[in-house]
Symmetry: C2
Subunit: 430 residues, 2 copies
């Protein structure tokens, strides 16, 4: 069964992930050969800084000309771990044109141009695998698109960004404010110098787009994902959450509408009950909760980032793509047949926790309650506390659409007796 010609791999990028991929390809060469059915060899490594010492990689494999590498024609699999839109997109497309299959860890690119890349792969009869693009080492793309291929997925809800989970977990456990927790995350290497992509939810939104696309067999682009960062979550929000028996997580939530005719995808901070499995996901770990018709509730948990975990996912894909290549087959491509419309955020239905600063005088609660009623938002609980003529009113609603809640809040702001809306947070996972 063993064929002798080695499969040739071109590695694009040799940073934290790429160097780990190269290392494991060397140290675990015998295992990879046995599992693939043929040896697999590193045929070239495209880097930006060729002068850097790269332990364990033969210097003659290093090149700065990534385009020439993917055009060589003898490359079986291109592993793209450079990230970003360009030149990654052009290189992947060129790779397909020159006969290679592709393994990518590029969430931003997949979220933005997944459809075009899948089309290019299919046109050339090649594989495009990207387990590492979502939640690092956690097997998620393959379980969603293969294990659950006979089921109907209704919701995917997860913690898919380790940096923000580290910060929120720190705020929860120590009572720290956002800035203090961010500073610690930065000092420990969990947050980048510019943390925008993480804390503003861009990274999570890209993953939500990819997950929603796979789960619902529908194209979901990054622009379709509602996104709200977690920079405005306060210690006071955590105190409110605790009173409700909740904690706060930055969640990516992909849902099928109750009538099944549309889907939504969103990223925002949310309160979840402490009893929910996602509530106990600590530090920089990721976890994704999946609900389907037949399987029920599943959860996948593990490290969501880092060189080794991401390399594990890349290498799992590499083995699959190599096996497909030897067998003359390709794995599952894009599945977007359902083509469901992606509804705007206004259509999302969930519960809300609203903190209002109000005048402490008779009739205020009646006024506030009337505004909720007028907008069709049913109130579950109200908690009022006040001193010195000022009062705080915490309202938790039943399920209502985001549009109805937005209308309610706009009207509340116009009331003379409402001094301010201190915070609005969605309540999920119940």
């Amino acid at each position: 069964m063993m064929r002798t010609r080695p499969l040739k791999v071109a590695l694009l990028g040799c940073g934290v992930v790429g160097s780990e991929v190269a290392r494991i390809m060397t140290t675990h060469a015998d295992d990879l050969t046995a599992r693939i059915g043929a040896p697999v060899e590193l045929a070239g490594v495209a880097v930006r800084r060729p002068d850097r010492v790269r332990e364990g990689i033969a210097p003659e494999l290093i090149t700065t000309d990534a385009t020439a590498l993917v055009k060589r024609g003898d490359i079986d699999v291109v592993v793209e771990v450079i990230g970003g839109i360009e030149p990654a997109r052009s290189l992947i497309t060129t790779a397909f044109e020159h006969g290679a299959s592709v393994v990518s860890a590029n969430k931003a690119l997949l979220a933005q141009d997944g459809a075009a890349l899948h089309a290019a792969a299919e046109q050339h009869g090649k594989d495009l695998y990207y387990e590492a693009a979502v939640a690092g080492a956690i097997p998620l793309v393959r379980p969603l698109r293969e294990s659950l291929a006979g089921d109907k997925i209704n919701r995917v809800m997860g913690i898919v960004n380790g940096t923000t989970n580290f910060i929120l977990d720190k705020m929860d456990s120590t009572g720290a404010g956002y800035q203090e927790a961010l500073d610690e995350a930065t000092a420990l290497g969990y947050a980048e110098a510019d943390p925008t992509a993480d804390v503003e939810g861009f990274d999570a939104a890209a993953k939500a787009a990819i997950l929603a696309g796979i789960a619902f067999h529908t194209r979901v682009r990054l622009d379709d994902v509602y996104r709200e960062g977690m920079t405005e979550v306060t210690a006071a929000d955590f105190a409110s959450a605790k009173e409700m028996g909740c904690t706060i997580k930055l969640l990516a939530i992909c849902e099928r509408a109750e009538d099944g005719a549309s889907v939504t995808a969103r990223v925002h901070p949310a309160m979840i009950p402490l009893s929910h499995p996602l509530a106990s996901v600590r530090g920089a770990y990721n976890a994704v909760f999946v609900e389907s018709d037949a399987a029920g509730q599943l959860m996948f948990y593990g490290p969501g980032a880092g060189g080794s975990p991401t390399a594990s996912a890349v290498l799992g894909d590499l083995v699959a793509v190599c096996r497909n290549r030897i067998g003359g087959a390709t794995g599952p491509g894009e599945s977007a047949y359902a083509a469901l419309p992606v509804s705007p955020m206004g259509d999302v239905v969930t519960r809300y926790h609203i903190s209002l600063d109000v005048a402490d005088k008779p009739g205020v609660l009646a006024q506030v309650a009337t505004v909720f009623a007028e907008h069709g938002v049913s109130i579950d609980t109200v908690r009022q506390s006040g001193k010195d003529g000022e009062a705080s009113l915490v309202v938790v609603t039943h399920r209502a659409s985001d549009a109805a809640l937005t209308g309610t809040v706009e009207a509340l702001r116009k009331l003379d007796t409402v001094r301010g809306v201190a915070s609005i947070m969605r309540v999920e996972g119940e």
Copy 2:
């Protein structure tokens, strides 16, 4: 891309799982067609009791002659959900001989005869998939054999039997004894009238054999798995566990030895810290914790049994096998190239919690400690409590081999001052 000839499926067994497979094949026919690339049709259903009403299944599909069904020659995929060794084994082998691929949920058969079945599948160039055989709906077989194919798995530790987890969770949360908790599990339908397979660990041992085989690329048979049931776990054990900040779970543990040269597989009750992710797995849920070189710690969680969840796993396999068939390919077969020896239980190294009833007089602790030392078992903590001339001594050890611990206990029993060994429990997950 769509071919028109439908793929024909023969269903062997139409009980809780089989009827759910048939139902979903009908209700989700359009989705399955889109995901497979061809329609899939139920071509026959083999049952023992043909007179029973089977809603949604055309009566002409029902047969009692399973052998004739798998021999028809026009069957693409045989779905075996009858369980047990025979006639399942003969039917699967016959199916391969007559050109069909097989999806099975049969853990007992896979654990006992997996190698022979894989060989038959390979000989005939057919697929053998069995995601449903381990942990129901939880994607586990595919992640282990595909997602982690580029990684090195060192440990698989999980709760793979829902019945026993329900009983232990009940004992933990209510203080009930084993019999009381079992009675409740039986009344609620979580335990069968004869619960032996579950409570004695046979079911979990079969799953451990399958998981160890996949994780370590080594053949592990049911006979290789050390097995200890949970019928002797007492309310007192739970009280002891609580004092240590632990709970008790029935665990299946598959480990690579520290030198990497051998593996072990075992099923027994064990104390695990409350902080471990497996400690919070409630009721009849299953969860499996996987540790690998590159990915680190992963966990997979979900319903481990039941008609719908098991059907979800069967249908995921069915889609994959159908896709392979259309593409003229087969998925990954048995991977046993590593062929590591399976070490006996005596070689397993872990920690132990031992409760002794001893005479309450000076020198007893010194005697007991000497016995541990003579057998090379290092003591971590000792807790002594006594009244009326009798005392209880709880010893928690550092890591030691099962053989050393067994020798220690034998020697302890011979001490005049030791009245009895009340319980010995392993401590895992630290």
